[in-house]
Symmetry: C2
Subunit: 251 residues, 2 copies
DNA sequence: CGCTGTCTTGAGAGTCCTCAACCGTGGTGG
DNA sequence: CCACCACGGTTGAGGACTCTCAAGACAGCG
């Protein structure tokens, strides 16, 4: 593959910007597991070289921040492996996580000249990095890419609006249920979902405290709606009731 | 001008979809006051006829709903006058207002095949309506329009993320202060801002109850940070302190 | 084995919500 | 002309949900 900004065993630190050397492997796009779900699917096979040479691959270890809120927006990113959290901070340290971006997600849509958010790796993350001018050149050359990006933005907007409904009007119970279902939808065909992020991350995503998240999960466990599945995994025991809960149709 | 779906004195009703006849006036785009701020600014003057003939103008009276959550997304809208509220509902009636769209705002970005939100006129509203196929034809013919739409989506996303921070992490006091500043920024050059919406709307926008909104405004009034300015207007007396408040840097 | 970090659980406090009364305005009709 | 009602807004008292503070459980790791 290519560059490793820092080995995996580096102590996870916040606000350490990762740099990377150029990627020599031009063919990585063809083998990219996230391509089908990402904006890159708008590029035809025979143009993949062009795409590949525009991107630089990066590895980011867990807990490492690679976009700092308010810094100049020079790069755009595409997640190919792992999970990234996007967040905003208030001056006194209160944090709101805007979302968790998995493989295929494009980072940098909500951007003017400065990033409007920070980004940090949840687990071991792999990224494609595009510089601003390179991305614009790609957009000029591939109109389909631009349309795909607009679609991506629309999806983000839908997700953001659902999250506003959650944060503004749902109870703690409903928020946790909604979150579990959202995670579940990312794990196709199984009744198991993965929660790579910490309780703190979940709390900052749902606008709650870690204690409330923990208590709520315990209650759901006690009520046999979910069960532990080892590691950072949960098993869904009663998805229907959970869905009712998430929409406020049940107590 | 053109069609009037219903006279102004009609009793304001929710969930009444407005229909409209075709607009005969092809030149309306050239005179449109909202054009400079809207996506239509991406269209050159000599192509305005093309744009104008693709759009249908509509008038919507206050309290009238013209997009219903979950209904088929056949049309896109551009606000040219007045204020529109976009909202989502939970089954039991809890409501979250996603935003207030003023002149120049484009509605329908967050859309797949069904609308993901409802839309209702706050005051007397004027809209341009585009059918889905017509808009796509416009996008094919005017690539600049597509890029402008992407920029619009980015701005929406930034606004949505700020709102998530507000809903997830700010106190009632901070929310109201943030809201007042947001409204203030729409009224250039004066220390007066307009609140065409009701307390209920403000509450549903900020994730609070009308009582809390009312109480908080009263407190700010008592503290001489704001003052009444007649009608649905407020005067900002101490913008700096209000800004500190909004960011959680003051009590 | 003890350390550290994450998670869990408990008790009390606080912010905001709920319920309720009251006020002011505008429209209606006797 | 004014009583009446509807509606939006304000204010108060009490309650509830979630937060804060604190202690303990558990796992990973040097």
């Amino acid at each position: 593959m290519s560059d490793l900004p820092s080995p995996g065993q580096e102590p996870p630190r916040r606000f350490v910007v990762q740099t990377a050397r150029t990627a020599s492997d031009m063919a990585h796009c063809a083998k990219c597991g996230a391509r089908a779900q990402s904006v890159c699917s708008a590029i035809e096979d025979h143009d993949l070289d062009r795409l590949g040479s525009s991107a630089i691959q990066m590895n980011v270890p867990p807990g490492c921040s690679f976009i700092e809120d308010g810094s100049d927006a020079i790069d755009f990113f595409n997640v190919t492996e792992g999970t990234v959290k996007l967040y905003k901070l208030l001056p006194d340290g209160r944090r709101q996580i805007m979302g968790f971006a998995g493989p295929g997600h494009f980072l940098g849509l909500a951007v003017s000249d400065q990033y409007a958010f920070g980004a940090e790796a949840v687990d071991q993350v792999r990224l494609c990095r595009f510089s601003r001018p390179r991305l614009h050149r790609l957009l000029d050359d591939f109109p389909r890419l631009e349309r795909r990006l607009l679609k991506e933005a629309s999806n983000e907007l839908v997700a953001a609006q659902n999250q506003m409904l959650l944060l503004g009007r749902k109870t703690a119970r409903e928020r946790v249920a909604s979150f579990l279902l959202e995670r579940w939808n990312r794990c196709p065909q199984t009744d198991v979902l993965s929660l790579p992020m910490t309780r703190t991350d979940i709390a900052d995503y749902l606008g709650l405290t870690i204690e409330t998240v923990s208590r709520t999960l315990s209650t759901l466990r006690r009520e046999k709606l979910i069960a532990d599945a080892g590691g950072h995994n949960l098993r869904i025991l009663d998805g229907e009731r959970l869905a009712e809960l998430a929409e406020g149709e049940a107590s």
